[in-house]
Amino acid sequence: MENNKVKVVLGVIGADCHAVGNKILNYAFTSAGFEVVNLGVLVPQEEFVNAAIETDAKAILVASLYGHGEIDCRGLRERCRESGLGDILLYVGGNLVVGKTDFTEVHNKFIEMGYDRVYEPGILPDQVVIDLKNDLGL
């Protein structure tokens, strides 16, 4: 078992069952040297938090592809604080809202919700890996 690697929790939040992107991200982060605790699809907020507590993960990476991201993602930061995870890194990405909303607006909304980084559609996993390494000081 590889225990010295930094652990990150990954999953597709809420009632969303898009599985392909999840597998790509799993591959990308594993290749980049992280131990990925992949929760798969249809993941409730509570499971992200529980997984991070038990595995001592350093970041939670949330994906939402079906347009209801705002409803599903709201409150995750508060839940982390409530559970003693405090300011653990929270990243979110995907098709977070329905339609062609200006991304700056979406970005700001999710930053306000307590996410550290917000990614728009089309961003490659490599960019997220670089950001994560920077944020963790690796």
Partner: protein
């Protein structure tokens, strides 16, 4: 002649089964009162005298025992996240045949330490953190446990990265600290077998003596496990068979008692329907659950509350008032047996309600999720809808005139379609009440145990 005597020191009765291993037959069964307070041999001798009256005097080449005397094996399980390592620790203890006194998650505080001290567990199972995961909480909990003021054996089955430190800390206050593999090495990966084995070995070394069962040692070769562990072992053998003797495949065992109802399932429980996503902690292949509020006598009122008068009355085709009156009667006098047709019907209905609720809590559930692309299903727990065999054991079922009616509660019901209960099972009854004994026999003669169970556990 190869005769073996198998003993189950129960909470009330000491039940014995004499087996002729060469001919694969039960020579006889008998019971005496369990006399653990004075000398366990008194009750055992009483049972043996009763047995010899039926069979004539026998000599035994081996005598094996299991025990749930003096309250069973009392355990407390400690983990980190209640749904994760605390739940995994609980399942390991249940699988080892323990009676769970309490399950604790997160950092233990002084009040909880006081509570644990009062619960007087005989073994504490300490888990927490996946391997390489959280270290602080299990270390904190080990330190807290040293303030118990009691010397209780502790089994450490948590984050391996800090296991040596946890053991060292505990050894400051406890004489018996054993470490074993993590009950959850990776997130959502259940690994309870090593902890189960360790619990059993501590039971053998420490608990048997503490409970005064060692007084039977001159007569009994070994009290090898707690009774529920023996039943689980028998169920596994009957299901899987051995290399030389085929088993019955996936099955469920229901054991209703006066105070509790135990359910065992031997099945993987993977989804049988399409478009189903599995969520939650993986389930053990051999799973045991215990319901402390479902029973026929001591727990009659609790059962009445859990099932509701309507459900029991519907099963019995009597009025809710009749049910209430009967429940009051049996709770006041636990020796009471049904005296007329209505009471008989209520008694059966209570048994059926115990079975039904206990199996509902044991099996998995299907939840429908509505997404933008139509509905999807999420399964939590085991899907046992394809299980074809339900076995009834335990005093209530074995001694009943219509055990099948009681067991029918295990079957799938259209009124609760989300419960993944067996859809069309056949019902078998442990008529000779030998399951625990066969679990013990299986330790030495697994093939014989499988064949004998197939012979003696028959269609209800």
């Amino acid at each position: 002649m190869n005769h073996i005597l198998l003993i189950d020191f129960g909470s009330t009765y000491t039940k014995i089964t004499a087996v002729d291993v060469d001919n694969e037959i039960v020579l006889g069964t008998a019971r005496g009162i369990t006399t653990v307070e004075t000398d366990i041999m008194n009750g055992l001798n009483q049972a043996i005298d009763a047995l010899f009256l039926k069979t004539g005097k026998l000599a035994f080449s081996k005598v094996l025992g299991c025990s749930s005397a003096a309250g069973g094996l009392k355990m407390v399980a400690v983990g980190l996240v209640p749904e994760l390592t605390a739940e995994a620790a609980k399942r390991a203890a249940l699988g080892a045949g323990a009676k769970i006194m309490g399950v604790y998650g997160n950092e233990l505080n002084e009040y909880e330490i006081q509570e644990i001290a009062q619960l007087q567990p005989e073994i504490i199972l300490l888990a927490g953190g996946t391997n390489g995961g959280n270290k602080e909480v299990i270390l904190h909990n080990a330190r807290m446990l040293t303030t118990l003021g009691k010397d209780i054996p502790v089994i450490v089955a948590g984050n391996k990265s800090v296991a040596p430190q946890v053991v060292r800390t505990l050894l400051e206050a406890m004489t018996e600290v054993v470490h074993t593999e993590n009950v959850m090495p990776k997130l959502n990966e259940l690994n309870i077998e090593p902890a189960r084995e360790t619990i059993r070995s501590v039971f053998l070394r420490r608990i048997v003596e503490a409970k005064g069962l060692n007084k039977a040692n001159q007569f009994v070769d070994d009290v090898v496990m707690p009774t529920p562990a023996a039943v689980l072992k028998a169920a596994e053998l009957l299901s899987k068979g051995t290399e030389y003797e085929s088993g019955l495949g996936d099955l469920i065992v229901v054991d209703i008692g006066g105070a509790t109802t135990d359910v065992y399932s031997i099945a993987k429980g993977d989804p049988t329907k399409t478009n189903v996503a599995l969520r939650g902690l993986p389930e053990p292949f051999a799973k045991r659950t215990v319901e402390g509020d479902l029973g026929m006598r001591y727990s009659a009122t609790a059962l009445f509350k859990a099932a509701g008068a309507r459900r029991i009355a519907d099963y019995a085709h009597v009025s809710a008032e009749d049910v209430e009156a009967y429940v009051e009667k049996v709770e006041a006098n636990i020796e009471y047996l049904p005296q007329n047709e209505i009471e008989k019907k209520v008694e059966i209905a209570m048994g059926k309600a115990c079975t039904s609720l206990a199996v509902e809590r044991h099996v998995g559930q299907l939840e429908t999720i509505f997404t933008c692309f139509g509905s999807a299903f999420v399964q939590k727990g085991k899907d046992l809808s394809d299980v074809k065999t339900v076995v009834g054991t335990g005093g209530v079922i074995v001694h009943h005139e219509q055990p099948k009616e009681i067991l029918k509660g295990a079957a799938y019901s259209e009124s609760t379609p989300e419960m993944l209960k067996p859809e069309c099972p056949k019902y078998l009854i442990d008529e000779e009440y030998i399951m625990a004994s066969m679990g013990l026999l299986g330790e030495v003669y697994p093939d014989v145990a499988v064949r004998m169970m197939k012979k003696y556990i028959v269609r209800g």
